[in-house]
Symmetry: C2
Subunit: 285 residues, 2 copies
Amino acid sequence: MSAHPRFSLNQATIKRASLAEAIEAARAAEIPSVGVWREPVAEVGLDAATRLIADSGLRVSSVCRGGFFSLPEGPERAAALEDNRRAIDETAALAAAGAKGSAAVLVLVAGGLPRGSRDLGGARERVRDALGALEPDAASAGVTLAVEPLHPMFAADRAVVSTLAQAIDLAVEAGPAVGVVVDTYHLWWDPDVLAQIARAGSLGRIAAYQVCDWVTPLPADVLLGRGLPGAGHIDFGPMTRAVADAGYSGDIECEIFNAEVWARPFGDVAAAASAAFSRVVAPHF
Amino acid sequence: MSAHPRFSLNQATIKRASLAEAIEAARAAEIPSVGVWREPVAEVGLDAATRLIADSGLRVSSVCRGGFFSLPEGPERAAALEDNRRAIDETAALAAAGAKGSAAVLVLVAGGLPRGSRDLGGARERVRDALGALEPDAASAGVTLAVEPLHPMFAADRAVVSTLAQAIDLAVEAGPAVGVVVDTYHLWWDPDVLAQIARAGSLGRIAAYQVCDWVTPLPADVLLGRGLPGAGHIDFGPMTRAVADAGYSGDIECEIFNAEVWARPFGDVAAAASAAFSRVVAPHF
């Protein structure tokens, strides 16, 4: 069965695949678009990666990921900012290599509290400052930096950006080349999420929409507790309709972190994700 | 060392103690106040429990817990509401038995999504309706119903009330006998929490303040991942000052769900919780 024309397979869903294998799995499932991760790009080098993408005929819906810039001033922070500048350039190159309709969107995960620090407010200010520093680079490269609010259970160790409202505020303060990621898994619990999706849309800031389900019980490693759409507790209707009503017309990624999913053959996972998307998400836009 | 005069030991912190053992542990550590759970009260019966409390000279800072009323209409929901009415009466009796300064506060956990349901909005409406139905009973018993927003990672399976803003909205809509619980563990990540604490105070709705730390990595059962103040990532200064500035002058409970803490002798835990509170929380009010 052909995939939905706006469906994109985020590479994290088949984490163990090389870029070539991910492209093959997407094409075999007739999926038109992929979300690319930097690690498998680095494995083959950027030039080879852009050729693979160009030859595939696939769109690139996003590049994952930059960020991790909540550290205080010092060499580690400087290195993180430099790495983000490289990621901006990679994003521009990969999106240019993708088929028409590709999006030059770099997904950013803010980073957690620095080791031993309890200064959540300070970490959030440093994320704001980093976005301000990187925005001109992104703008001149034609890249959108997409701030991804992560579920609050990751606030200490992965991302001090925890709500869509906060991500929108950061994007607006940083400038026009910064947007937000709406990810159902991270945001579904928020009583304010539909209003904030509308707000993000009215400000032209929705850079990506990712779908993934919340399953219980959470696994021992909560990072890996994500399910295919339909496997968990999320009603994809309200958020999907809100994203559509907010004017987002780009690709929609399925991004799953799940050890059991990762253990399955890449082609099976691609087909299952595509089918789940068609069944559970696509009817709502 | 004598405990801080506003410190209260929530019984969940020494979950395996009977009411008599909890009282003994609190008195041995010179803790002036306890948060009582209904299960150990039921073990001895309400009359015996109120005598134990009265004889102890301790204050009662809250009774845990009611709620779990997110179910749709039917016998289970009716039974939950009846159980909450019994809990209101128990709260009134236990607070009356406690020393001067006891608080007739019943902590409410909303309940999660009903089995098989993905209708988060509907579950939240039913919580609102249940609070509206119970408010007159609480008011006539002189009891405050304290809605506790739980961390968003519990939204599916324990509590569809996930933010302080949402809890305040529910309290205001239900009426003057409904307030909110501010618990550092559940709320520390919220970029809006200090503003919402101020709002709750200005509306006279802070019914309880509970302290508990967020530790990583989360354990396999995330319900049991709570630490003594100082053991984790939370800066207790900003929230504690905000609660004080908002006019809250009641007891402050330490409530820990942690399998390792539960395995230790009750007296040791009571003393450790008291010392942690004096060191990490008390300096901020």
